[in-house]
């Protein structure tokens, strides 16, 4: 989640008034009247009185801060940062590479460098091994020729 950044410039569009002004409920007085009216025909009259008292106390509790404005601010900050993050993510997902020719050639060369180096090493190894085999074969034929000349006389 993106944090609130105080250095970011303020938006130009004005924020609506309702965002910070908590409107009172139209039902508030009616509900209060209902709970204040003593109930009849209840076996649990004590319980009902306690319930009415608790409900009235609960309804008259007031927060110590402008809760609606604060709640909206906090939720909107999150939604705003999420909107920006999702826009950035969409842009990133659909981004196409747009490199200059030099960079592309450089990239191509750097991609090819490793396989070329490997091929060189393989070729060198291979040619060395083959030359060793050839020289070994030549030496063996010379030795066998010398042996034959010494033991059986020169062949015609």
């Amino acid at each position: 989640m993106t944090r609130y950044d105080p250095s970011r410039p303020a938006p130009t569009s004005p924020l609506p008034d309702w965002l910070t002004r908590e409107s009172a409920s139209a039902m508030s007085e009616k509900l209060r009247g209902e709970w204040l009216t003593p109930t009849r025909a209840d076996q649990s009259i004590d319980g009902h009185a306690r319930l009415a008292a608790a409900m009235l106390m609960l309804q008259s509790e007031r927060p110590r801060m402008p809760l609606f404005a604060q709640a909206n601010a906090r939720a909107l900050r999150w939604v705003d940062s999420r909107a920006r993050a999702s826009r950035a993510a969409r842009a990133l997902a659909s981004a196409q590479p747009d490199l200059p020719l030099g960079m592309r050639v450089l990239g191509f060369v750097s991609r090819l460098a490793t396989p070329v180096a490997c091929a060189c090493v393989v070729l060198l190894c291979k040619s060395h091994v083959l030359s060793l085999l050839e020289s070994t074969g030549r030496m063996a034929s010379r030795l066998s020729q010398a042996y034959n000349d010494r033991n059986f006389g020169p062949m015609a």
């Binding site: 319930l51 509790e61 809760l67 705003d80």
Partner: protein
């Protein structure tokens, strides 16, 4: 800079000033509409269910987070009742977590401190009665609890309650009556 006529805390004004509503409007416009139409009732409901400012702020934000997460595919508004149902569920979860936390406190004194921390100004008797009411509401069956929460805590009309819960106005009245009897019986025991 946008100037606010209300005496808001500086950090709240700064946050509100920094928000670009046009961005929010283009991607999650339904959030603004929901805040305007149902925000006050939602905050009232959460405040009365939870009784702590910070919890209300958390629950309010979580409600929109969860709904935005649900509507990820199209970015469209969820059905009307989802907002209140989600908020009620989040508030109930918070209360249950809080109760578990309190249960884990070792001494009764610590538990009492945690319970009365919500309202410093209220006398102990009052706060415990209100807390008993909150617990009694929490313990109600869901169909009764939904009606009581929306009608008495969010202060909504029966028409709105029935629209949100998908029941008739008559059914909502019957459920509320049942809920009041159950709450009175429970509070009598306290």
């Amino acid at each position: 800079m946008t100037a606010f006529s209300l005496n808001l805390p500086r950090d709240v004004s700064a946050v509100l000033d920094s928000i670009d509503l046009s961005q929010v409007r283009s991607s999650h416009g339904w959030v603004l509409r929901a805040m305007r139409a149902d925000g006050p009732a939602l905050v009232r409901l959460l405040w009365r269910m939870l009784g702590r400012e910070q919890d209300v702020l958390d629950a309010y934000q979580d409600t929109f987070c969860r709904l935005i997460g649900l509507g990820e595919t199209g970015g469209e508004a969820p059905p009307h009742g989802y907002l209140f149902r989600t908020a009620m569920n989040i508030a109930l979860d918070m209360r249950r977590r809080r109760k578990v936390r309190v249960d884990h406190l070792e001494t009764a004194a610590l538990a009492r401190m945690a319970l009365t921390a919500a309202s410093d100004s209220a006398p102990p008797g009052e706060s415990s009665l209100v807390e008993s009411l909150r617990e009694a509401i929490e313990a109600l069956p869901q169909r009764l609890r939904d009606v009581v929460v929306l009608r008495d805590l969010a202060e909504m009309s029966y028409r709105d309650v029935s629209r949100i819960l998908g029941i008739t106005g008559g059914t909502a009245r019957v459920y509320r009556r049942e809920a009041i009897v159950a709450l009175a019986a429970r509070l009598k025991e306290c």
